[in-house]
Symmetry: C2
């Protein structure tokens, strides 16, 4: 077990690396040349045209105003300054809700920490068990934990009462937060401008008809069954091949531009390339001519494919976006069943146009159920067999293991500093590396499951990732063992034994998790704000590809929140907080620092950097709540197991009440709030319809919806910014302060010239 000294070394390393990241960020962000890396959101919004410094030529690349360096943490108050309504207006409700998860962590754990330090730490510290046992080495951290309380002591009443207090406090905060989020979502939806998805329903599994085309069939069906509300519809083309061609052409164009730039800078040497794979072998040819010819060829191919898709009836897939005359009509169609066969004419709210995942729209029902079965089995194997490498690396990461495998390293390792480093740092890093590989696999699995929108894909991936983190990071770190040993030991143990086995090891693993929080949490968050990969990528692109202002805009990679990965990781911190709040309260301050730091960093990123791909209106909140409840139940069961091994068996009946209450609380909240995130109530639809009819009686809705749901390749590659969003930007319902600062939307070029 790591001693207090190991922890201190690890803490020092991590705090230093975190500070290094922050300082690096503070310096880099002040350089005008990096402005587009650290403030892309403002560029995308058209508010910022260029770095606002004035000065000579050098100052367009390097910030020479040394006064600004002194206030290198000035971004922190700046990040906190923007009020939440403005934040929602600026970055969307998804981002604002995501940040609130960190705030929720602070709300839950700050009072719990104070209470735990006031009550439980003195109780544990004066327990005096560990001092009486001579054989066991223990650190001061263990003296602060429940391990120090003698078996069967009356002191456990304190822990029991605190478990109740913490649970009810968490209930209160969770209920309040769910209520606030529900109101925010309803307000957000109510204040939203007209959007195509409010009028549109996605219809899947249109049955084949021998006499009619898909388009005619859809029109007839909805004319008959929604006669008063049906307006128009948009068939979906299978344009996956076309999209690939467009993608390929784009890449070729980049190379073309690259060689042209090279030639312009050095006209004496005509650039050449090889025709083989990646330009590595094959005959040497003139690069510019070669790529020009290739692009020409691909353009023709693309044109042919485009015509084929539009004219070939087989390219139309049995799905359609059906639009209605009013939001009320769409709400009705989305929430009802159309025919007696529930596997055809499936209706659901259409996702936002940019949220649609086009590849998955044409999967028939039977195939869908088989795909889900296969993915469930695959997830099981992935979750339980992935343990092998983790356990292997972790077994290497203990000193004795390394000394055994690589005996010649012994003199090096035995040095005090190195030993602490290895023990404190390596297990965390090993886990971290494995976790980086995972999200892509999980996202692919979700795609195979056949969900039709990016938001649902992210939600599903998050669920999978959460299971993975629970089993492999949390349980896998507590009871280390090779591969399937754990699964097997769980299956062979009695259900009442499992909480005991896990519970007993919990106090011993506190130091490990403290290290983990510092490596993954503190340093990881600090690295997030530095944006090292986008920084390097931007400068590479800027050097080789950028010619016009528009190119520079495209070279920006603002990124987005990555809900699928980061939310389950936050859940791990919540879980650790719940588990250790009663057992080893000394872990709590580390979690609080994590939540506070993450809150500030992500608030800054959301304001200045991230550009969300879609806006779901915080539709993920029920998942967040559910996973928090899962964390609470796990912590309560483990506490029960731990207590029963500590000779406090009489506490079990009292503790079993907690998970039952928690599950009931979950069901209560679910019934009370969840439908606001799933359904769209008719009353709200009617209010918006009535309002619109009064203010814009002559609106031509059909023209408005005409090509809202066209596959992006048919829109001339305007993938990033469809017209819908522009309109919203032009007519914000809530006038903000930004309005005054704001230049004309399309005037970024103009203002950039003016600025220089």
């Amino acid at each position: 077990m790591a001693s207090l000294q190991d922890i201190s070394v690890s803490a020092a390393i991590n705090i230093l690396s975190a500070i290094a990241f922050l300082v690096a960020f503070a310096i880099l962000r002040l350089q005008p040349i990096n402005d587009r890396v650290y403030f892309p959101k403002w560029y995308l919004k058209g508010i910022r045209g260029s770095p606002t410094r004035s000065g000579g030529f050098a100052s367009t690349f390097v910030n020479l105003d040394f006064r600004t360096y002194i206030r290198f943490l000035s971004w922190m108050p700046a990040a906190l300054r923007m009020p939440e309504p403005e934040l929602i207006d600026h970055a969307g409700l998804d981002s604002a809700a995501y940040i609130r998860i960190y705030l929720l962590g602070l709300k839950i754990f700050v009072p719990i920490t104070f209470l735990a330090f006031a009550v439980l730490v003195p109780v544990n510290w004066t327990g005096g068990t560990l001092e009486t046992i001579k054989d066991v080495t223990f650190s001061n951290i263990d003296k602060l934990s429940i391990s120090n309380v003698p078996s069967g002591s009356q002191r456990f009443w304190a822990h029991l009462v605190m478990a109740y207090v913490f649970t009810f406090w968490t209930f209160y905060i969770l209920y309040r937060e769910y209520k606030i989020m529900t109101n925010k979502r309803l307000q957000f939806l109510a204040s939203e401008n007209r959007r195509p998805d409010q009028f549109t329903v996605l219809v899947r599994n249109v049955p084949p008809d021998p006499d009619e085309s898909v388009s005619e069939h859809v029109e007839h069906f909805f004319c008959v069954n929604h006669p008063d509300y049906y307006l128009t519809h948009q068939v979906v083309y299978n344009a996956n091949k076309l999209a690939k061609l467009v993608e390929k052409k784009k890449s070729l164009q980049n190379w073309y531009i690259y060689y042209q730039n090279k030639y312009e800078r050095n006209p004496s040497m005509k650039p050449t390339t090889k025709t083989g794979f990646c330009g590595l072998w094959g005959t040497r040819v003139d690069a510019i001519d070669y790529y020009a010819a290739e692009i020409e060829k691909l353009t023709e191919e693309e044109q042919a494919e485009r015509e084929r898709v539009i004219s070939d009836p087989k390219a139309i897939i049995p799905a359609a976006f059906v639009s209605f005359k009013s939001r009320w009509g769409a709400a009705v169609c989305a929430q009802t069943q159309q025919t007696s066969n529930p596997t055809i004419w499936l209706t659901q709210w259409a996702p936002e146009p940019r949220d649609v995942y086009w590849d998955n729209l044409a999967i028939p029902y039977v195939e869908l159920t088989i795909r889900r079965l296969l993915m469930a089995v695959a997830l099981f194997f992935l979750t339980f067999f992935f343990m092998i490498p983790i356990a292997f690396v972790q077994s290497l990461a203990n000193i004795e293991g390394i000394e055994k495998v690589l005996p010649f390293l012994k003199p090096l390792i035995e040095r005090k500093g190195v030993k602490s480093l290895i023990q404190g740092f390596l297990p965390g890093i090993a886990l971290k590396i494995f976790l980086i590989l995972l999200p892509t696999i999980l996202m692919t699995m979700s795609k195979i499951e056949g969900f039709a929108s990016l938001s649902s894909l992210e939600t599903r991936s998050a669920g999978k990732y959460h299971l993975f983190v629970l089993v492999n990071v949390f349980l896998g770190s507590i009871i280390t063992g090779t591969a399937l040993q754990q699964l097997k030991s769980f299956l062979d143990q009695a259900p009442t034994e499992i909480p005991k086995t896990v519970g007993v090891s919990i106090p011993m693993k506190a130091t490990f998790f403290i290290t983990y929080i510092m490596v993954d949490g503190w340093a990881g968050i600090a690295a997030e704000i530095l944006r090292l990969v986008p920084l390097v990528m931007f400068h590479l692109k800027n050097t080789f590809l950028v010619k016009t202002e528009k190119d520079r805009e495209q070279a920006m990679d603002p990124g987005c929140l990555g809900f699928a990965t980061s939310e389950p990781r936050i859940q791990l911190y919540f879980l650790l907080g719940f588990v250790y709040s009663v057992v080893t309260p000394v872990l709590l301050p580390f979690i609080i620092v994590f939540f506070a730091l993450a809150y500030m960093v992500f608030r800054h990123q959301v304001i200045n950097v991230y550009d969300q791909k879609y806006e779901s209106g915080a539709a993920f909140w029920p998942d967040v709540q559910r996973r928090l409840i899962i964390g609470m139940v796990i912590s309560q069961l483990l506490l029960m197991g731990l207590m029963s091994t500590k000779g406090a068996k009489s506490s079990t009946p009292l503790l079993i009440v907690l998970p039952i209450l928690t599950i009931w609380f979950h069901l209560f909240c679910k019934g009370r709030f969840e439908s606001a995130f799933v359904k769209f109530p008719l009353q709200d639809a009617m209010v918006k319809d009535t309002l619109e009819r009064a203010t814009e009686p002559n609106l031509n809705l059909k023209a408005y919806l005409h090509d809202a749901y066209v596959h992006p390749v048919f829109r001339g590659g305007e993938l990033e910014k469809p017209a819908v969003i522009d309109e919203e930007e032009n007519n914000p319902l809530v006038p903000t302060k930004r309005m005054s600062r704001r230049s004309s939307k399309y005037g970024s070029d103009v203002s950039s010239e003016a600025g220089n």
Copy 2:
């Protein structure tokens, strides 16, 4: 363990008692005096006015035509003769679907039995393990079971393959049956006549409004949010007290008539009664005057209460039946969410008027969730603590137990016949008695849970009863032990150990379950057809209360199917069939006899006796399917446990596939068919609306719906036969053969005179 001889004795007893019941039934049903007990359905339908025999005075009471006695089983072919469409038309889809459960049992188990006897019985019989072990006594039945196969034998492949074959056969039949039931339900709903519940939605949790009454609030809300479809609504009065008064008055009237009859028959003696409790003490008064005065008093009280309910705004509960102009409008309202707060304005399909459970309409959301939590906890305790008495009685029921407790009985018990009787009969009877107490408790619990219709109450009770039967009858009989020992042993065992523990005891319990099937199944079903309690009650009423033909009609107690109790009991037989099909196939014929007998008996009862209280259109079928799947999964897990103890560990991976496939099959079927039982598709609603608009353009729907959903006490006590049903009877969509035999609906008195 009971020997083959014990089984034979038990079989003889049960077959004899079953035959005795059947003969008694055959004789009693032919007596004209019992005609209204055994054919009440035809009287209620108005088709049968009186017993159709002709002859002297005596022949109105006793059947003197001895030829009819010879064909004493003639009811069996008669019960099978009515074709299913006519049966649905005659008795409703609920009854027809219920009967199909027994038919489903035959369809599943008849082929399985043939296959098991052809393959598994020879394999088991020649296994020869039991003969080599000298210490164990075994019966011939055990030689036919899997116990006779030596451990680790290659013969287990036969069982493994058969498990797969049986599973897939069951899948096939279940899928086909679900499909047939779905079609039948859709046809039934499509062919139904106009009914108020097609146009009506039950709205619960109407929020209080300071300025408006409930009625105004409902009207305004739906006028705004469903402007094109809202027609009218009916508020709900809290008439529970009034209903009690009406009930009490009815009972007093019965006594009044009883004493009047007594006086008429014997005018010399004026009947007297005492005013105290049940006429047992108090001052002696003239009975007729006393009851006349009491009735007068109650009538005034009832009148006052009736006026109070109608005029007092506090007597209106925050719920209403809202009717729409079209089925489409109602279907939309029932399936959508009305406001952003999902705990107010809750809409659901209105149950049929006679299906409404009026007491539960006014429970607010928070109270509802608390009630459900409490009932879930109560169900847990009921299920697990109810074991104490069963285990106690069963421990008495083994010979050694009785001899220990009551040693003086030893000489009596040790006699061969008595011993067989006790071992074969008693455990089954003990269980049976306990089960009789249960349904009322479970129904009360469901009522506390707050469901708003009788059909949902029955479904919920059935779910609870199924859990109880599973834990206490099935598991409780397999692993006997006192009280909570079982629960404790389950909690202390590894999850992989439980199937082993249970699985091992399964072959040994085959004889017990064979006995149980004969006692509970064979004899129980035969007793069902005899209707002993209604027979006695009818003759008592007939003697003391009946004066007019209408009284005699009310004295009939046709009863109904009692889904809540009988369906879970059928599920037990399915479970036994699934479990023993591979292990001890010799049990299967007993189950087949049960299903065949029950099918005939219940078909007879449905045709001639039962009068269903409501018609849900087989809405319970998804529950039946789910419980069948639960039975299959249990049997597969137990087989896995059994096989792994028999040295066939390598079979586990092959057997684990079965439950996964079964669960997937369940999800597949659920997605494919379930919504036909839960939702009402818009297409079907539109078809019916269009048809109706074409055929009856001048229909005054408002008048039609005017008092459809009035609390029954306001309808002048017409509780039994609301107007709705009459109309359906008068205009059947499908003309049947019955039409020709049918006399005028209200002409039963006339035809009875003509018949005599």
